[in-house]
């Protein structure tokens, strides 16, 4: 039971601007110009995926975590037959997505980043026709649609055109549609972007419920807490590469020390940094900018007294302390040197 996914050395180079879903809010790629001597026109080229390999196991909730423009949507696009890879292979179950498209399509349900609902139809018709595309008989699809409309609390607007729906309602009908043909793998691209906290919790519950049926779920997110709370395993991607992979616990444990203490002094001479490095439980001390030091340690508040004495001994003043508990945010920061929201 359950369908796994395998990605082998995927590369994707866009030679025209990528689709909006893959672009995200702040498109962070740098367009590379080809360096031929006779080039007539600046060639548009964007490397979205730079040799990504990973495996999503059957029946797990797998998260792709990364900032905008990291390559998350492109990965989903390739796995769902919407984006052609430049090289590399992608398998859903035993099917090569780009060799046996129709067979792969039967196994997957897709919730896109922006609702791509059929605006010419009502909510119920969207579900009914979607069921019909997948060969469901009339009775089967009518029952299924009704059940989903009830489950997603859409019955009162079921026979309205979706054009006038709010963002949250469109999101719900998108998810209902993706579940209509009972796919073995459900892809959700930034499912909680733009949802209020309450709807977000509802969404998490729906995802967990569907996963409990033995279905594989792949989602992208740039929210650390979402990845942490929801995913069994994660891949952190940035600039088209996988930076780290594993369970949230494994990943958090991989940060040296786990705790991150951001310290600010009025100045930070080298001997202070060296002294901080010697404190018990400290695995790394990084001088960030004038007076700012990042300390990775296996404990948090317990270190403060020692830090203060070290500062006094060096004759500097401690001005600010921020303690971050082990989190994926810290992990991202550790691997890339910048925050997810940068």
């Amino acid at each position: 039971m359950g369908i796994g996914i395998r990605i082998e050395n995927l590369r994707k180079v866009y030679d025209s601007p990528p689709p909006s879903a893959a672009r995200g809010g702040g498109f962070s790629f740098v367009a590379q110009r080809s360096a031929g001597p006779k080039q007539k026109k600046k060639k548009f080229e964007v490397v979205a995926l730079d040799g990504i390999s990973m495996e999503m196991r059957a029946g797990e909730i797998f998260g792709l975590l990364g900032p905008n423009g990291a390559g998350k949507s492109t990965t989903i696009g390739i796995l769902t037959t919407r984006t052609a890879p430049t090289s590399g292979r992608a398998f859903v179950g035993e099917y090569d997505v780009w060799q046996q498209q129709v067979k792969a399509k039967r196994l997957i349900g897709v919730v896109p980043q922006r609702p791509n609902l059929d605006f010419a139809l009502t909510a119920r018709e969207i579900l009914l026709f979607h069921g019909a595309y997948f060969g469901q008989g009339r009775k089967e699809r009518e029952e299924k649609a009704q059940k989903l409309l009830e489950h997603f609390k859409l019955t009162d607007r079921a026979d309205h055109m979706v054009r006038g729906f709010s963002g949250g309602m469109m999101q719900r009908i998108s998810i209902a549609r993706a579940m209509m043909h009972d796919p073995e793998v459900l892809f959700l691209d930034e499912p909680s972007a733009g949802l209020d906290p309450q709807t977000r919790l509802l969404l998490w519950e729906i995802i967990r419920e569907y996963n409990a049926l033995g279905k594989t779920i792949v989602l992208t997110t740039h929210y650390m807490d979402e990845a942490d709370a929801l995913c069994h395993r994660l891949a952190i991607v940035d600039h088209g590469k996988v930076i780290a992979q594993g369970t949230p616990e494994e990943l958090k444990a991989s940060i040296p020390g786990g705790y991150l203490l951001k310290l600010r002094f009025d100045r930070a001479p080298d001997d202070l940094v060296a002294a901080l490095k010697q404190l018990p439980g400290v695995s790394e001390a990084r001088l960030k900018e004038a007076g700012a030091v990042d300390l990775y340690a296996d404990r948090g508040g317990a270190l403060i007294a020692a830090i203060v004495s070290a500062a006094q001994a060096a004759g500097v003043e401690l001005r600010d302390v921020h303690i971050a508990e082990p989190s994926l945010e810290n992990l991202f920061l550790h691997h890339t040197g910048r925050s997810l929201r940068d």
């Binding site: 689709p19 919407r82 897709v110 605006f119 139809l121 026709f129 595309y133 997948f134």
Partner: protein, 256 residues
């Protein structure tokens, strides 16, 4: 090939078309019918045109209506659905090869064009008033020409719909459809262009010429027209070319 999915896609387009039936008919038939009334009724009644002009006009108006509804019936939804909302993605994810969705669009467009053509015959007849001489003595030729014209319209709609962006719709009308209609021999037989020899041969790249002349040959053979065999051959070649272009453009557009 997955017929259930294909049929479901077709049913979806049929459902949407039925919902928009009245606006669609008005959009595609009103203008040609108004033209028919002015030129075929008012001007003939006033004596500025000969009564036989009615026989020239009716097949021409039918060709224009079929072309407009086929082209628009396929191109306009495609242009919207390929925009940033990507409405078409739901259907691209249906368990069928992407190319079949394009084929389905062509079939749906053909059905629309045929319906428009069949509606316009009685409508134009009524608009033109007494003195129209059309015959259905060549049913096979008529049916074949109708099918070829419908195919040209919807395959053309596919090719256009996959090449034009939403911002260029106005341009598509004024640069492609308007000249096509004026130089499509819909309002005059092709032989009348003999006074403008260069134009007479230049318009032969316009598929609407064959549509108008073919329907004229089938419905009103007493009016001078291009030989039906030549018309059918030309339409078949044009249809084939538009299908090839349309399908390849669709495939490119369907995947990023």
């Amino acid at each position: 090939m997955n017929w259930r999915t294909f049929y479901a896609l077709l049913a979806r387009d049929g459902h949407v078309a039925r919902r928009n039936l009245l606006p669609m008919l008005l959009q595609n038939l009103l203008q040609p019918l108004l033209l028919t009334f002015v030129f075929g009724r008012v001007l003939t009644a006033g004596g500025m045109m000969k009564g036989s002009f009615k026989d020239v006009l009716l097949p021409g108006v039918m060709a224009i209506s079929m072309t407009l509804s086929g082209v628009q019936g396929v191109a306009m939804p495609l242009i919207t659905e390929f925009q940033f909302t990507k409405e078409i993605e739901d259907r691209l994810l249906a368990p069928i090869a992407n190319g079949w969705l394009a084929v389905e669009k062509i079939v749906a467009g053909m059905i629309q064009a045929l319906i428009a053509g069949l509606v316009v015959i009685p409508a134009a007849w009524l608009t033109l008033g007494p003195g129209v001489h059309i015959s259905f003595a060549q049913p096979l030729e008529f049916a074949l020409v109708c099918l070829l014209v419908a195919l040209f319209a919807s395959a053309g709609g596919l090719a256009l719909g996959c090449s034009v962006g939403q911002t260029q719709i106005g341009l598509m009308f004024s640069l492609v459809l308007a000249p096509m209609m004026m130089f499509g021999c819909a309002y005059y037989p092709w032989s009348f262009l003999s006074a403008f020899p260069v134009l007479q041969y230049a318009v032969l790249i316009n598929p609407l010429v064959y549509a108008s002349e073919g329907l004229r040959g089938a419905l009103a053979p007493q009016v001078p027209h291009i030989d039906l065999l030549i018309v059918m051959g030309a339409l078949a070649i044009i249809d084939l070319a538009l299908i090839v272009v349309g399908l390849s453009k669709f495939q490119k557009k369907a995947v990023s």
